[in-house]
């Protein structure tokens, strides 16, 4: 039997349950879990803030494991997978490739068929989340081996924040030498701050908190940090302008989850600059802005960024492997928890007591 952590319903205590070893369909893989992430989304799931979740679920949408069994599966590069390989996989499953969004709009993250491991797949259908000893990768799941130079702990330090940030930073179209402001110092914000340097930013300013996260931002190369708890919006605007010849950031990336951060981010950005909003993952209310001053006269470019696709994870693996000597990825991991400590992990993440928490079965 295989043990897995089940979230039975919003607010209900997590439970450790046993599952049978699944029979593998052609193209499927059984993964022995090495680690699975506990991220802000899991806290949202537990609070019941996401719609369309088929509780009970096994949480854990970004995971890494060793192949225990494979029934003829191949990786994204088309190579046959073999037992013992260490791989990750895209949590998104079932994007149809046939609907209007997939084929005409080329916006696969909007495909209505997409399901997400650990989020929108029920534990009644099997081991479809990462907080378990094994994970059942259905046929068609996009599997990506980790290169030798990328330790699995290092990869998990990025977790789902890395492909999310990679998507956002790609949309941000940073030019060499640009000033980049990142709003938010959680996993997405920290990854964005790193990736901005890997786009040749001229300076990276991280706005957020608490201190533990701002220190991490410093260690990961931020040129300046601004503590959200110790400044007013006016002061933050003033600090950014001081460092940019009075103009504001060329590019701002929002990763906060707080609605009022959005109009503030518009103001932090210079005229004709670009603003990417990636942190408004749940509906926690509205914000007020001035369409003339904050958008139209500014000639501002604002981009909402939702979801990741295969390419974002594939590229995250490549980047983390290539620049592993330059950035101490594992430094982002605060603590590892056993399956029976999942409840504690969830609460630590919800309270922002940790930067990154892992379940290590």
């Amino acid at each position: 039997m295989i043990r897995g952590v089940v979230m039975p319903a919003p607010q209900a205590p997590l439970e450790l349950r046993e599952f049978e070893r699944p029979a593998l369909e052609p193209g499927a893989v059984l993964l022995e879990t090495l680690a699975s992430e506990v991220c802000g989304t899991d806290a949202h799931l537990w609070k019941g803030q996401l719609a369309g979740v088929p509780y009970p679920i096994i949480p854990g949408h970004v995971s890494v494991g060793r192949i225990a069994e494979t029934n003829g599966a191949r990786d994204v590069d088309g190579n046959a997978l073999r037992d013992g390989q260490i791989v990750t996989f895209l949590d998104v499953y079932g994007t149809c490739g046939r609907c209007w969004y997939c084929t005409v709009a080329h916006a696969t993250t909007r495909c209505p068929e997409r399901k997400v491991y650990g989020v929108t797949l029920s534990s009644e259908d099997g081991l479809l989340g990462g907080w378990a000893e094994h994970i059942h990768l259905k046929p068609g799941v996009h599997i990506i081996p980790l290169p030798e130079e990328l330790d699995w702990r290092a990869f998990m330090a990025g977790g789902c924040g890395m492909p999310t940030a990679l998507h956002a930073v790609t949309l941000a179209e940073i030019a060499f030498g640009d000033t980049v402001v990142v709003q938010g110092a959680g996993p997405v914000g920290l990854c964005a701050a790193v990736l901005a340097q890997l786009r040749g930013a001229g300076q990276v300013i991280v706005i957020g908190g608490p201190a533990i996260r701002l220190e991490a931002a410093r260690r990961f190369g931020a040129d300046a940090v601004i503590d959200i708890a110790e400044t007013t919006p006016e002061e933050r605007l003033e600090r950014v302008r001081e460092r940019t010849g009075g103009r504001g950031a060329d590019v701002t990336i929002e990763a906060t989850g707080v609605p009022s951060a959005v109009p503030e981010g518009m103001r932090l950005t210079r005229d004709a600059g670009r603003y990417v909003v990636v942190g408004q993952y749940t509906d926690v209310g509205t914000a007020t802005f001035n369409p003339h001053l904050d958008l139209n006269q500014k000639h501002l470019d604002v981009r909402g960024c939702w979801g990741s696709d295969v390419g974002h994870v594939y590229r995250s693996v490549r980047v983390m492997a290539r620049y592993a000597a330059q950035f101490e990825w594992t430094d982002l991991i605060t603590r590892e928890y056993g399956l029976d400590e999942a409840q504690e992990a969830l609460e630590d993440v919800a309270a922002q007591r940790v930067v990154k928490a892992l379940i290590v079965p």
Copy 2:
């Protein structure tokens, strides 16, 4: 002596004053005015809604004239200008080509040196606006001859709405077959509706009013019009979704001047669509939106569009000339006014009694 209409101060009655014929610097041109536009901006000027205006001014920023005298000036294509030629010119004067915005950001419409004929140049400095018998084109003003196949009345029917809309529609990156919603049926909105067809839109839906303008939208090819006065936002959203398989517009272009139109436009646009805001020309207040639903989860791309440059006017002239057989441009002109009727023209425009009004000295 040369007669010109002067706006002495906000709210003060227009006056007809006399000016001396200017001596031309090398590279300057004296234009005999054929027509100058009365546009919404002039109403804003009169109401005192724009900052930094050096009253008294001669209004009129988009004009066409016959060259009365030239001191060695050349047009944008580099050809020497000659007496009698019918030309227009970019109202923007003095963009420096040396500042950070001009040279590094390539955002010339944000150059702090730019002045605008008829808006930010004072009548104390001469004939620097279009509502006059002659206009003094300083050295460096960008001059564009009208091709023979483009009657000057046809060109003026587009007025400043055409390059503004051309800029917005360019930013909108319409793909072949896209559904385009235009919010607003004034000169910018109508021009945007035409230009969307010249990008191969699959359908163009104009939302606005009053009836006289929606009829013009119909004549200029709109596939559907929605009267703002007879519908609620929910009904408008419903109508757009009915025509788009439930998805919303691929591209929406805002040209209304009303802040609440902006969040509405975000909702009218489909997931992963694009929204261009060009109509929020003055500060008339704030708007409220939901960053999660309206921007982030939608994966929406929002672009503020400010100002025109030489290319926009040059391309407007080319497009209006090429498609003059297809679109009856002059149909946009409601009435021509003499210099001594300028006050009436201004009030007709402010009250939206006309689509396009011209001063014809």
Copy 3:
């Protein structure tokens, strides 16, 4: 029994064979063929100029038909299909959605799994080409209904030239008012000349022949045509420069199939212009160019364009329907042939005696 035209091998005479009515898998459709195109590709197939063709095949990759039977299939918009509907479909079948090209590079036309109806599917596997009374649309084939305002003959007049040209013109990123040169006056070239107008080109110049095709170019709105048989490359360059202030075309689109056209096209394009190469469909030899003069110093942007995807066909349908009143699409069809006249049709196309030939069973 169902009759279909079979091409047994390169150079071998076409044969009329009988096929059994297929049983439909879930998601499949049986189409009663209304018409199928005879295009240049079919001539290449017959001459054996394409690699990887599993002869015998039923040619015909762009077709339109009436639904005779459906086993629960849906169209690209997600709507259930019903008997009697008139539809077309993307000839490309089997793009995997899982390989590196599909998921990381987002270059689905490079997917190694893609097969093409009428080209790389064998008649031994059934009615998988359009020159037959019925066509078997396998599950997953992308099906697009024709809107009422688009007659099926009008749609077929575009044939595979329209989505090919739409792809090329999209890559060409034509700006409003640009001068567009199209090299080649076959179906792709003519469609490109039309679509350039639907991007707001300032003028469209078609270079090609013979006279029958140049006349068609004129009727479809080309501002100028240049007969390839009556001019030297130097004369053509001279003519284009005369019409562009000495600069050359802003955008050039190649649709000729002749290697030497490519360096000529580079020279016809202005400095910092864009050149799209879509007509080099088979390997007929090399060309020589000067990398300094023709590419580097010109700051030229050159784009090879290969294959179409669902979006190109979907958008073609939308555009042809929307602008059917403006362009007399059926004017492109020279002749319709019965199934038993397929050999004659093929030879007429190979000899360029017709603009567009249809098989109408």
Copy 4:
């Protein structure tokens, strides 16, 4: 009197001449030269391979100096310059900001008015090149102060290769994790290899020679180098494919000056990849390619890259300052020469005996 090195005519020996100290026009600056580059362009100038050069000239187009005198000049950020500041400047002078290329095409590097310090300005007009004790910066020259954290020697190590490479790498649109091949290991190629890492490339492969330059490529982070002298084109293609799952480079950047490198580079690049050609600076002959195989079927994107503008130099300064701890820029400098050693410097550069040579007066 001020001493400067003059190149009297192609092939003629360099001469040391004396110039009078110029009187400064308003907006002009007199720079005390700290260093000026000897680059491949100077070798071309000396061999007479560039057209339109008004010999005699003072060579030296990329230089750094201390402000000796200023008549009210401002830097690109708009700040007043002051005596003693260490600055560089864009060698391009006189871009008009009014012609069609400047205003409509937004292709300022194609402006017919642009002159280049050290290349197309004659020594008969003054100290308009860098190989002199002082340089006369005319009004309107774009001046950029070096930040404190960027030593002037470090900046000069990049020289004109850095903004050239920055332009090319920007055009290359590298995505995170891409494989980037750089053809050529001279100053432009080495800078491109560094900048590719600052765009998050997954691996960088440098093809070139001789050994001294490939060692520099290794030190500057290249993941692999291929010696052009020890491999055939087929072997190089094989090596690149081995490292890319058989596909080829996502992005290739050419910086060789050898025409045959261009078709080779097309083949080194994967289907639907991108190829930037920046090294074909002079006309040294033609190349042959197969438009079907090398361009069209490959769906290849090829971009010629010519000239730099203010933004490229401004951004180079920012990037070199920000990443000075990571890349040992001065390591690129092989040797410094006095004014009276200029002839030797020129010959060393022409013979590729050095990576980067500086004149230090």
